[in-house]
């Protein structure tokens, strides 16, 4: 229904504009340029633009989405409690929305009520499933908050060093490089441990990304750079706790999670300390903070599934000003700079008769869903399944231009070190070194055109 309306709308727009402009300005292959999420595109550029449901849901599905929305936005509390029971005893935050503010990217601080940065932790090596090795007494994530009278696992300290660099034309920019340390450990860790910072990512379009066929993603992989373009995207294959199988990793900054359901269940368990049928063991099990309550799973399946469905059915904001000449020039420069070799403009979701909302959609996530070596500067040096210590998943860029509005002021990259899109670009390295150099060589007006284009996403 909505798709037809949108197609109808575009036809009208094109028809109206054709009356006073030359048709060549609107080649047929760009008609859907602004529909970043296909039929699951929302025409909204306000601070709430990441919170729109798919338009074409049944009334029952709308209801489930609403239930998920409410759970997503409300706090959980320490057990026992009549409702929303089971927070902690150790956790990173008390609600989904506390990190994913307005369903958007988080705030790169740790320990405060609205902090959205967490630290993954592990020992060197790989576990039986090929994943990171849990640290005794800590697991795979540092929970830096705790219920009253319980001790957080550690305090996460973030320190930045600032350095000024220059583009080729002499204009300067500043990058801030973070250092992460743990203090106030509740129990010592023997030997070396690896840390990886992860900022709460935007929630938009996840259902669409989940619906892209594995074959389409893998087809873009070039792990040995056979085509010699300097870019060697790899698919991450990860052990999935829901299916108990190795699957293609799609979500998370290192694509270490296979499905939205697993992502949601893991976030409840690790970020908030809530057990579910998928992860029924408390994150604090075996630790001094463990509550010894026989209340697991704390989260009913209906609640878990409602939040999963909510995450699955958040629409993608439409692009703005797609016909603007500067934006179109910026897009061409983005293509010429080979940014699109990883930030792939277009993917198509698979046919799914059981879930028409995500079926057979042409989408523009600006991501290939693969992991790439991004160089030493961004490296966490903590392998996560097939993603090595310098690899990160190509972040989808849809919605990028709205970060500042949705999450004023907006931060970028896996740990929010970049305060602007320019900084995010200039942190690129490794497989993206050539593209970064291309951007740095551009004149100011061309750089601005690229930024204006990115701001239209």
């Amino acid at each position: 229904m909505k798709k037809l309306q949108i197609i109808g709308l575009l036809t009208i727009v094109v028809f109206a504009l054709v009356k006073c402009q030359k048709s060549a300005v609107f080649p047929a292959d760009q008609y859907d340029n602004q529909l970043s999420g296909g039929s699951a595109t929302a025409f909204d550029a306000t601070s709430k633009s990441f919170g729109n449901a798919f338009e074409n849901l049944s009334s029952y599905d709308e209801y489930v989405h609403e239930v998920g929305d409410r759970v997503f936005s409300q706090s959980f509390v320490t057990a026992p409690n009549p409702i929303h029971s089971g927070l902690g005893p150790i956790f990173n935050n008390t609600s989904c929305a506390s990190c994913h503010h307005n369903d958007g990217i988080g705030l790169p601080t740790a320990g405060d009520a609205q902090s959205s940065l967490l630290m993954r932790i592990s020992l060197p090596g790989t576990d039986a499933n090929g994943g990171p090795v849990a640290v005794p007494g800590y697991g795979l994530q540092v929970q830096d908050k705790a219920a009253f009278c319980k001790q957080p696992e550690a305090k996460v300290n973030i320190a930045y060093t600032y350095q000024t660099y220059s583009f080729d034309d002499g204009d300067t920019y500043e990058l801030r490089a973070p250092t992460y340390t743990l203090t106030n450990l509740y129990t010592p860790i023997s030997g070396t441990y690896l840390l990886s910072p992860r900022l709460a990512p935007p929630m938009i379009g996840l259902g669409l990304l989940e619906a892209v066929p594995e074959s389409e993603i893998v087809a873009n992989a070039d792990p040995n750079d056979a085509n010699g373009d300097g870019i060697a995207g790899k698919a991450n294959y990860v052990y999935d706790v829901t299916t108990k199988k190795v699957q293609l990793g799609r979500f998370g900054w290192k694509a270490n999670t296979a499905s939205i359901l697993t992502q949601v269940a893991t976030a409840f368990n690790q970020d908030m300390g809530l057990t579910s049928s998928i992860l029924p063991v408390e994150s604090s099990y075996g630790q001094s903070q463990y509550d010894n309550l026989q209340d697991d799973p704390e989260l009913p399946d209906t609640t878990l599934n409602a939040v999963k469905f909510y995450a699955q059915t958040l629409a993608v904001p439409a692009r703005r000003n797609v016909t603007d000449a500067t934006i179109k020039r910026g897009q061409q420069l983005f293509i010429l700079g080979k940014c699109v070799n990883c930030h792939k403009q277009t993917l198509t979701t698979g046919v799914n008769v059981a879930f028409p909302a995500v079926s057979n959609q042409v989408i523009h996530p600006y991501s290939d869903m693969l992991v790439h070596n991004m160089g030493a500067g961004l490296a966490d040096n903590r392998p996560d399944f097939k993603a090595d210590g310098q690899s990160w998943r190509t972040a989808p860029l849809w919605g990028l231009g709205l970060y500042q509005i949705v999450n004023n002021p907006g931060y970028y990259l896996h740990d929010g070190r970049a305060r602007t899109v320019v900084e995010a670009i200039m942190w690129h390295d490794g497989e993206a070194a050539t593209s970064k150099a291309y951007f740095s060589h551009l004149s100011k007006s061309d750089r601005d055109a690229v930024l204006k284009f990115l701001n239209s996403l």
Binding site: K2, Q5, I6, G8, L9, I12, V13, A16, L17, K19, C20, Q21, A42, F43, D44, A45, T46, S47, K48, S49, G51, N52, A53, E55, E62, Y63, H65, E66, V67, D69, R70, Q74, S75, V77, T78, A79, P80, N81, P82, I83, H84, L87, T94, S98, H101, N102, A113, Q114, K145, A147, F148, C149, A318, I405, N408
Partner: protein, 360 residues
């Protein structure tokens, strides 16, 4: 859930307008309209947002005074005075949720003051501990241990059964600091808009003329209209629907004070305030309603009558919301339908109006 899918006619209007030229008479119209748009924004900040935030702060101060009085003389009458002050502060707060954008969300003043539910297990643990319970200590606690609902829990109790004699010495210390902490947040919220302080007012007033938040006037109008639709959705589809659907009164927001119906009604009154640019005790100003009337009087009539109908529909619920979810389900559904009708008009006609008519 929010559904903001652009309407074909709006875009058609924009598209066609993009290739037509103004003649002299439309130029005059444009000047008049631009002036009115500017006046609406200026007055939204001056006659609604700032007075509303000032009022929340003033009422939080009155509540603090009532807490101080109660703690010195813990009678049931003085406890009741805190309850009245709590409801008054709550009323001003719920009203401002009719336009929930800007610092209130950017700086998380909303969850800091109004998180839910209360973390009773931790609250009991805090009271049983040797924590000093001073304001600085409260500020270190999670948001489910402070704000409106933690205060509500102490002064009303489960089932609204609290008695002055049952408020312990520790409760009183905690209550005083909770009140002070809430007041501090209301002060931050007020200052964030105050032209003499954080001056978010300028971001609104200078929309399209140097505002970094709103690069066009249309953007701020869309934010305003979007926030009006949001609260409709939150009230009808979330706050009212969740306890109703689950048949569970513990899912009700202001369950200790039995104040939820008033909360809901004040939320929708906030929508009326936002649309009409009015606030009790403040001068009325140029409003979105006036802007709509200037182009489409029948749409203005429709919106006003739907807002008023939604507010009036609450009169059908004659008991507490905790009871109504069992005994007055049809009345609840009538309210939800009235709010959903309003929401559809705001998201459809009104947003389309903004898209079509506010072009700068």
């Amino acid at each position: 859930m929010r559904t903001k899918f652009i309407l074909a006619l709006g875009v058609l209007g924009l598209a066609i307008a993009g290739c037509s030229k103004n003649n002299d008479s439309t130029k005059t119209d444009t000047t008049t309209q631009t002036t009115l748009e500017q006046n609406v924004l200026t007055d939204f900040a001056a006659n609604l947002a700032n007075p509303n935030y000032q009022d929340i702060q003033a009422k939080a101060q009155i509540m603090n005074t009532a807490i101080t009085t109660f703690n010195a003389t813990p009678t049931d009458a003085n406890l009741e005075a805190i309850r009245v002050a709590w409801k008054n502060t709550r009323g001003a707060w719920e009203s401002c949720e009719g336009f929930l954008f800007g610092p209130v969300e950017d700086f998380n003043y909303d969850p800091t003051m109004d998180d839910w539910p209360v973390n009773k297990a931790d609250l009991d643990a805090v009271l049983a501990s040797n924590n000093a319970l001073q304001v600085a200590d409260i500020d270190q606690l999670g948001t489910t241990l402070k704000g409106f609902h933690a205060i509500e829990y102490i002064i009303f109790g489960v089932g609204s059964t609290q008695k002055a004699a049952n408020v312990s010495a520790r409760d009183k210390v905690y209550l005083a600091s909770l009140g002070e902490s809430l007041y501090n947040t209301t002060t931050q919220l007020r200052n964030s808009w105050d032209p003499a302080s954080g001056n978010y007012t300028a971001e609104v007033v200078k929309a399209g003329k140097g505002s970094t938040t709103f690069t066009t006037r249309q953007a701020v109008f869309l934010a305003l209209v979007g926030s009006m639709a949001d609260i409709c959705n939150e009230v009808a589809s979330e706050k009212m629907q969740t306890p109703l659907a689950a048949q569970d009164s513990t899912l009700d927001e202001s369950q200790f004070s039995h104040n939820s119906v008033t909360d809901f009604k004040n939320n929708i009154t906030g929508v009326l305030n936002a649309y009409k640019c009015q606030y009790p005790g403040a001068a009325s100003g140029h409003s979105l309603s006036e802007l709509v009337t200037s182009k489409n009087a029948s749409l203005d009539n429709k919106i006003q009558s739907q807002i008023n109908a939604a507010i009036a529909s609450f009169n059908g619920i004659t008991t507490t919301y905790e009871k109504a979810i069992y005994s007055q389900q049809n009345q609840i559904k009538t309210v939800q339908a009235a709010i959903n009708t309003l929401k559809a008009t705001i998201e459809g006609d009104l947003e389309n109006f903004v898209q079509t008519n506010i072009k700068d």
